[in-house]
């Protein structure tokens, strides 16, 4: 069976779109200082930043999973204005400029913040400038992606599965764990990947809320920015590494896990 041919102009536009993605990547690969790669790769600053980035982004994704899936469940069960409000709040970090997000986080969790001030006064806990702050910043900007993906999955789930499970005597928790969650796996997976990718690339909220200190809060995006002025070659290498890691994950992800047949 032959499929309908895509009209010429559409193909041209699609090609332009593809170029928009490919050219910058090609530029990165072509201009890379391949001869210096080894030295830069093993430079302590590079490895530190990479380690920190991977740790923070994975932790942020884990937190997003634990908090975001139940949040998506809540969202899917509400209706009307309540749902509208909840959804606006949970997707706000997506639309907010990251630096603005960072400022907001400071105002909430900083030493003079809503929660941060009592924490500091009572326990001497200070959140900014710590690795935890970097994780919080990344979670803040990335979790909405997970929530949206999972909520979408929940809404497209046939409600009769839950009804059948309940009729068979399963309590709310059992229905969630043994029926809903397994059926949500593709949505959770793709949401987690999007979340992780966003967390990995976060810059504005991190620098504003967590600051920039090698080994503690200087994730790869921050390291690239700093290196760009002083050591452009190092910046390119770092960018390449991040590109390679991201590519490896995305390519390694099987369509099957995303729910494609």
């Amino acid at each position: 069976m032959t499929q309908a041919r895509i009209p010429g102009p559409l193909i041209a536009l699609a090609a332009a779109g593809l170029l928009l993605f490919l050219l910058p990547l090609a530029g990165l690969v072509v201009r890379a200082p391949w001869d210096q790669l080894g030295g830069e790769l093993t430079a302590p600053e590079t490895l530190t930043a990479l380690e920190l980035s991977i740790f923070c982004s994975l932790t942020a994704t884990a937190v997003a999973l634990v908090l975001g899936v139940p949040l998506a469940l809540l969202l899917s069960k509400t209706t009307g204005t309540v749902r509208g409000l909840l959804r606006a709040v949970t997707t706000l970090p997506m639309v907010l400029p990251p630096v603005v997000g960072g400022v907001a986080l400071l105002l909430a969790f900083g030493r003079k913040g809503l929660i941060g001030a009592p924490l500091n006064d009572a326990f001497g806990i200070q959140i900014p400038f710590t690795t935890s702050a970097a994780v919080i910043a990344e979670t803040f900007v990335a979790m909405p992606f997970l929530v949206i993906a999972v909520e979408g999955g929940l809404r497209s789930l046939d409600p009769r599965y839950e009804q059948a499970a309940r009729a068979l005597g399963a309590s709310g928790w059992r229905v969630f764990a043994r029926v809903t969650l397994p059926l949500l796996r593709p949505a959770i997976f793709s949401g987690a990947v999007l979340c992780w990718a966003r967390a990995l690339g976060e810059f504005g909220a991190t620098i504003t809320f967590a600051g920039n200190l090698p080994g503690t809060t200087q994730t790869v995006p921050l390291a690239v920015y700093v290196a760009l002025e002083t050591k452009p070659q190092g910046a390119i290498v770092l960018s390449l590494i991040l590109l390679a890691v991201s590519l490896a994950v995305l390519v390694g992800m099987h369509d099957r896990w995303l729910g494609e047949p």
Partner: protein
């Protein structure tokens, strides 16, 4: 739709071609200035003066000096470059970015920024090493950060900063927000902020920052660029810089 466009285009042409009200036959011009972040307060006022006096509209790009240099090297288009240290200006010169030479137009010193009222009782650079104190510096890639490390070395003080900000103005805002107890910034930053107190650093430990300014090779508005630079070094311009906390050239 086309008709509307034609009307607008005609209007723009007429507006551009009309003589200024003061009878001076000079047409209004514009200039693009790349300037270090700490220069924003005085340069904004200088730009306002230029607009009323000479009808020059100034567009600024304020950022860390290292960022500006990097942008210019990558081919960003500008008319004037005002740097926060001579090293970056030299680098720009060696890259062939300058139209001619550069000239110093101001100096700045370092100062310790603390919260209003100095609640932590900081009196010197040595106090910055106090355990439990949250100190923030500019990243060494930024001139202010580089100078801060030099000053600390001169004072023989070892500090573990909680963050290395990418612009000296970010250091100031962290102190102003109460997130940091102290930071090392320029005197001019403290003066124009008004939200923090400054603790002076003795001359023996301090570092004098030299601010050079130059016209760029790729300048499109050469006349306006020259006017801008001339105003900066003129008594009026120097007076504005002084009010902002800078030391004159």
């Amino acid at each position: 739709m086309l008709r509307w466009l034609a009307v607008v285009a005609a209007g723009v042409v007429v507006a551009c071609g009309s003589a200024p009200a003061n009878g001076n036959a000079k047409a209004p011009s514009s200039v693009v200035v790349f300037a270090a972040a700490s220069l924003q307060p005085p340069f904004d006022r200088i730009a306002a003066q230029l607009r009323t006096r000479d009808d020059i509209a100034t567009t600024f790009n304020y950022a860390g000096t290292q960022t500006l240099t990097s942008q210019l090297t990558q081919g960003a288009q500008a008319d004037v470059f005002a740097s926060a240290d001579t090293a970056h200006m030299t680098a720009a010169q060696q890259a062939g970015l300058l139209a001619g030479g550069s000239q110093l137009f101001a100096h700045n010193r370092l100062e310790i920024a603390v919260a209003k009222g100095n609640p932590k009782g900081i009196r010197s650079l040595a106090d910055l090493a106090r355990p439990g104190l949250v100190v923030v510096l500019a990243d060494p890639a930024v001139p202010a950060g580089k100078y801060a490390l030099q000053a600390l070395a001169k004072a023989g003080v070892s500090v573990r900063p909680k963050s290395l900000e990418l612009q000296v103005t970010a250091v100031l805002s962290k102190v102003a927000l109460g997130e940091a107890d102290a930071g090392i910034v320029y005197v001019s930053d403290v003066v124009t902020s008004g939200q923090v107190d400054g603790i002076a650093i003795p001359d023996g430990q301090n570092v004098i920052a030299d601010y050079p300014i130059a016209q760029l090779q790729s300048a499109e508005h050469k006349e306006a660029a020259k006017e801008f630079i001339d105003f900066v070094v003129s008594p009026d311009g120097q007076s504005i810089l002084k009010t902002a906390g800078f030391e004159t050239a």
